[in-house]
Subunit: 170 residues, 2 copies
């Protein structure tokens, strides 16, 4: 059972979702038609404030990590001066790919709301589904081979980290 | 059966792996002790050239996506002026987390070589394993709720994209 803050009804929440998703869809259309990259946009919202927007810029920025959600998360963190998005909602025009899902878990917003699904993305040629499948495989069995090469000093960075007096956990 | 280019023996490859992993481990130690972030570093190599290095900067840059592999991929793409790392090898001090694995699939290097494993990372307090588990769950069943809110215009960005004459696939 979902709970609502004072003065916020389910209708209010639905209207809010519709408003922010429509804005993401508009941004996705505008940015992709303008040549920024793929047809995806996202925004980070806290209460009534839109903290940041983001859209896909992979091909225009030559950055394969510049997906809409990553861009919105990075911008919201710059706005807030923190690396955590506690209490925020991430809206996105489409279900996040595994990279963006991972970014979401590291940023820890309180919720994610998306409109289109990974299957809609796949039908348009965006192969998120492949990456979801590959993640579940063992490292050596993937299309891009992930080779574990044991190294005698592999544990040194962790051993140094756990005794670092001023380490900041994230 | 792995094949080797002319004049490259298995011993050569092992020596190359050892060299680059040791450099990643050194960078992970130096950067985390210096307060950049967690104890992780990576580099992108093509042939004999180190195209880019990266290290974790989550807490110093206030960027939850600034993992070592993401930083190295972004830097290598800036160096090359492209969003694809065809023919490159990504070396990393530790097995990539799901976000970095996703970034790797979008950047498409030819191989990934890592020293420590996700279990070593978990023992030092880095909860990659949780994210691997969460990815496999249905959106609504995750610790961070992912809510699919259908929108009547959700398909518009994709419909516009597939007929865009100058779209650049990635």
């Amino acid at each position: 059972m979902q709970t609502y803050p004072r003065s916020m009804s389910r209708d209010d929440e639905s209207a809010r979702h519709e408003l922010h998703l429509a804005a993401c869809i508009d941004d996705a259309l505008t940015s992709s038609r303008g040549g920024a990259g793929g047809p995806f946009a996202a925004r980070v919202v806290r209460g009534d404030a839109v903290l940041a927007v983001g859209w896909n810029q992979v091909t225009s920025a030559n950055d394969p990590t510049a997906h809409a959600e990553v861009q919105a998360i990075r911008a919201a963190c710059r706005t807030l001066g923190t690396f955590q998005l506690t209490g925020c909602t991430l809206y996105t025009s489409c279900e996040p790919c595994p990279m963006c899902l991972g970014a979401i878990y590291w940023a820890r917003p309180s919720a994610v709301v998306f409109a289109a699904t990974r299957h809609d993305a796949a039908a348009a040629g965006f192969d998120d589904a492949l990456v979801y499948e590959e993640i579940a495989r063992s490292p050596g069995a993937r299309r891009i081979p992930f080779e574990h090469v044991p190294h005698p000093r592999a544990a040194e960075p962790f051993a140094a980290w756990v005794v670092l007096p001023d380490r900041i956990r994230y």
